[in-house]
Amino acid sequence: MIDFAMSKEQQMVRNEVAKLVKGVVVDTAHDMDEERHIPPAAIQKAWELGFSISMIPESYGGFGLKDSPVETALILEELACGDMAFALAVMLPSLFIHPIAEMGTEDQKEKYLPLYCGETYKPCTLAIQEPHVGSDPVDLETTAERQGKAYVLNGKKCFVPGAAKAGHMLVAAALDGENNLFIVSGDVPGMTVGAKEKNLGLYALDTFEVSFKDCAIPMENRLGGEDGCAYDQLIQKSRVAMAAIGTGVSRASLEFVKDYAKQRVQFGEPIVHRQSVAFMLAEMAYEVDAMRLMTWKAASRLEAGKDAARESYLAKLYTGEMAMKVTDYGVQVMGGHGYIRDYPVERYYRNGRGISILEGIATL
């Protein structure tokens, strides 16, 4: 079955997020970026819509609704269209909650989900990426070694969002060459969280380098228990989530310069009357649509419970490339003004760069 329409329910969800974005993000995104800070009240407001916990069973504090990767992709696009850093911050707890709910043992679910599925936003996170050239989420340098009744972690992670305040995080590490996730509490000895990172984009998002030196964690903290977890599935979801976010950032740039180009007059006419400008906008328009369709296709496969290795890979690859192109055009359409931080397009451009580079900082 091929269907390109959104269901009523999906439209409703999207509208709800759009309303939130309009209310608490649009007017403040610039300041959040300048001040490198997201007001907790804004995050709490978004949290109350329950995106991260709607699919968690009621017994653990969630809403017990059906898990819908497509719907989550819609939410992420919408949030990221407001502001990418805000989107990542709001959805941060999903990085911990969702893998536990999907792949954790009964004990792990019972122990950890209620901690984070309450009425107030509580940071918890996921550490996948590593600070070296060639960092690859499926070729991890961080290792876990079995020693008696513990696993001992060694290695370095970077770009871990919210690590400083996270009560718990999942850490990706290779155990006998197999990729695994380990539940690590925020105060475990042997783990060091560095200072807040400074990055090209996402100024408002707190991210950190986290290192592990002979960091011993209890045996029962291996996600999924003795059998380990379906690590690749998490990578697939995280790729589709980034694709959705990439679509959102790109759309933000497109929407902004569309209006700008119609109003900006040079040589006696709005610049949008020139083909070289109008064609950039046309290309941006269809590439944003294409990015969204790639995202939806991958998300739909996940929603149907199918393997989406190929689709999620292509979606992230494509949106990564195109987010660069579209947000670059966004700056270009505005000329020198696009370069100035009074306008949001330079922020979209900086943030858009993250789509292809960053792995495992969002999930469905």
Partner: protein, 339 residues
């Protein structure tokens, strides 16, 4: 498959999606061959779209080519100068039509001509000219870069006489600049642009599959789990091509799906063709590049796919014209504002 639009019309069903999927498969084989398939032509699409019952009876089963382009009128279709004048019970046509697909093989040609030059677009009508009509001559066939299995020819109309009721649509001249008549014919293209896009998908996919196979033979490994930033450049090139093909396909399917669901898809149809035309061209070039000597030699088909793919970005509206259509609609600009 041979006449999807007629059949779809009779059944009252939209079959656009089926059609684009079928076209991709056929063009994976050969686009020139598809264009040489009786009844596949644009002329038939135009007849299906606007013919009366009586005309459908007479021409519905005839393979019809479409002749719009003239030596001095390509992208600017409204500037055609071929004329049609009513003389008693017959139209008399004069002019030259170039680059007509299936010029030789078709049984009839839908010819665009003006019945009132002063009226601009409002004066442009289309006429069904059957082969053998007096004064209708196939002048010559072209040699082309690609799609060589398809015949492309020039017609000369020299006091060419056809019956009065071979005109498609009404013969009334609308004085206003944007007329329903011209728009009606242009609307045919909303439906056919995704079809052309689908042709591009088939060519590109053939090239891509071949390239993948050849690269694997020399040790390339494709593993969708690994980070794209951590792989060899030829593998990344391949993935990017695959992603671009998929993006073009989804835009094409969406446009077709919209047509099937009675949604206006003019902008989306152009998006699909713009993307498929560009992606197919770049992708088949890259395949040749990656294949090295195998991509340059005519022993294999890579060079042919590169030659074939280029036409997708040219006929039925060049890539630039598709961008123009998208830009105007997306930005809400008139053709005066955005030329």
């Amino acid at each position: 498959m041979t006449r999807p639009s007629t059949r779809a019309k009779k059944e009252g069903l939209g079959k656009n999606l089926q059609t684009v999927i079928a076209i991709e498969e056929l063009c994976w084989g050969d686009t020139g061959l598809l264009l040489s398939w009786p009844g596949q032509g644009l002329g038939n699409a135009a007849i299906d779209a606007v013919a009366t019952e009586e005309q459908l009876e007479r021409f519905g089963d005839k393979w019809a080519a479409m002749a719009i382009t003239e030596p001095e009128a390509g992208s600017d279709t409204a500037s055609i100068t071929t004329t049609a004048e009513l003389d008693g019970e017959e139209w008399v046509l004069n002019g030259e039509k170039i680059f007509v697909t299936a010029a030789e093989r078709s049984e009839a040609v839908v010819v665009w001509a003006t019945i009132d030059k002063e009226a601009g677009r409002g004066g442009i009508k289309s006429f069904v000219v059957e082969k053998g009509s007096p004064g209708f001559k196939l002048d010559h066939l072209e040699k082309k870069l690609g799609i060589r299995a398809s015949d492309t020819g020039t017609f000369v109309l020299n006091n060419c006489r056809i019956p009065k009721d071979n005109i498609l649509g009404s013969s009334e001249v609308k004085k206003s600049k944007t007329t329903a008549g011209f728009k009606g014919v242009m609307k045919t293209f909303d439906n056919t642009r995704p079809h052309v896009a689908a042709q591009g998908l088939g060519i590109a996919r053939a090239a891509l599959e071949f390239t993948k196979e050849k690269l694997e033979e020399v040790g390339a490994e494709f593993d969708y789990r690994k980070s794209p930033n951590n792989i060899k450049s030829r593998e990344k090139d391949y993935y990017l091509m695959e992603a671009n093909l998929e993006a073009a396909r989804l835009l094409t399917w969406r446009a077709a799906w919209m047509a099937d669901n009675g949604k206006r898809n003019s902008m989306e149809a152009s998006m699909a063709k713009a993307k498929a035309g560009r992606a197919g061209t770049l992708l088949t070039q890259k395949c040749c590049d990656l294949l090295g000597p195998v991509g340059f030699s005519c022993r294999d088909l890579a060079e042919k796919w590169m030659r074939d793919a280029k036409i997708i970005d040219i006929f039925e509206g060049t890539g630039q014209i598709q961008h123009l259509i998208v830009a105007r609609q997306f930005l809400g600009l008139s053709s005066k504002e955005l030329k």
